[in-house]
Symmetry: C2
Amino acid sequence: MRIGLDVMGGDYAPSAIIEGAVDMLGGLDNGVAIVLIGDENIITAEIEAHAPPNGNFEIVHASQVIGMGDHPTRAFSEKRDSSIAVGYGMLKKGLIDGFASAGNTGAMLVGASYSVNVIPGIFRPALAALVPGIDGNTSILLDIGINPDTKPDVLLQYGVLGSMYAHYVLGTDNPSVGLINIGEEETKGSSAVRSAYELMNDNPDINFVGNIEGHHLFGGRMPDVIVCDGFVGNVIVKEAEAFYLLCRKRGINDPFFERFNYENIGGTPIIGVNANVVIGHGVSRRKAVKNMLLQTIDVVKADLANKIKDRLQNGKY
Amino acid sequence: MRIGLDVMGGDYAPSAIIEGAVDMLGGLDNGVAIVLIGDENIITAEIEAHAPPNGNFEIVHASQVIGMGDHPTRAFSEKRDSSIAVGYGMLKKGLIDGFASAGNTGAMLVGASYSVNVIPGIFRPALAALVPGIDGNTSILLDIGINPDTKPDVLLQYGVLGSMYAHYVLGTDNPSVGLINIGEEETKGSSAVRSAYELMNDNPDINFVGNIEGHHLFGGRMPDVIVCDGFVGNVIVKEAEAFYLLCRKRGINDPFFERFNYENIGGTPIIGVNANVVIGHGVSRRKAVKNMLLQTIDVVKADLANKIKDRLQNGKY
């Protein structure tokens, strides 16, 4: 298995990215290689500064960088030798099995759609986040920002995609699926969510448990898969970030709240494209990069993109 | 000033409601009276159990109760002698200046629309919540649940109504108004929110400061007024509730996080109807009831409903 890592993307690139990769080296399973993608001179210098003598990376040169503030579509099509474009090119050719970047999120999304493409049958790919539960449980929440206006059939498909992620990547058996709403009754909520409730309730391919509300988040009994449109999901994830920052400001040190620290979470997978791609937080440092790589390995091991493709080809949602 | 209090509504009614009212008695300004609305026998017995000998309440008898699980519209029209219907009747006749209840939220909303009515010119009334900020600041967030599907002109009007609440009730000078979105750029978000951005940005009557994101919530520099649709607002408020419960479960005692305790917040005013109405949390106990009454007094003192009416009659939003 070969995991491509964009060394040039992220607020603390390239040092933090190389540091995170170095931290991975010791614990890598046999047969897993990290491919560093970026400016070869910079990478070599960074490895010399950080890596142990037997640090065994592959390096693929990319002469350009897509900056954090660059216009995603323009940058991706104009900077053909950027680390992001080179990474997607390798992914498309099968030279790497997964690709991780803490760089420009928009460019990563554009690359996913333009380069490896959306899986046929997928209405809209989704960005997903892992949500920590008080009892040590973990749920997957999607979408967290790609699709702010979401139609009912897209919400249903998120339920299916989230169930596949929970099953294949997180190892959850028969994952339960909940729909974010403003009340538990099926008559509550926006028209899109009310229709989605009906579709999800009628669908035998998911284990739909009904509506859930904001106060069920982070609980021990929240569903394994939490579905919402990208607007609501984005606000949920960022409000959790706000709380984590408040805890820090108030000097609260608590192992549970540490699970809200993006550094411990890894990244957000793009679900529904023809390849395994994980996007890290722009402010990722050493530990966050390591966790992003671990998550990418999990997604590749689960062969998630192919599992989704197979399921859609077999006519099942 | 006379404040009507529904003694029969809420999970811990009537005892907790009377207890909260008793706690108010000592600190009441001259000229402020609490009118207890509900079953006279029950109220008399509760007052004997809880109130000091000089406890000076007015009692208005109501023979029926709208239960927490009753169908709002049906219950409000059928139970004409319920404490909620009687309270609204008094409000309409001017026998009380404000009305507070921790009872059936739906029935309180129905009563507001059917009995005292929406102020002409208001598209949709809103429920608002107070949001604590880390620096001791307080913002108002609206809508938090009445309108899950919200059009751009309604969002703009929320900005106006929230500004009036911040100004007249909270005493904030030239309150800043922010729009919840998934990014700071005006091109981000759902189509309704993008249009609302344009309307708000063009409107000289509010101090619009642009989009804010979930991680700006609870910060020292969050805007004084935070506008969103009722779906997003409901999730924001309930997620904050989830966090507060997590803090309690983890044994965290922190004065800032105590501001998230609904008991300390009071209630949620209905903004945009022809009267001053505050709805408390269904699980309100003694302290929450007291704070709900304090908030109702503030809203009445500010004469908020009339200020809104005047402003709309003068052709200003």
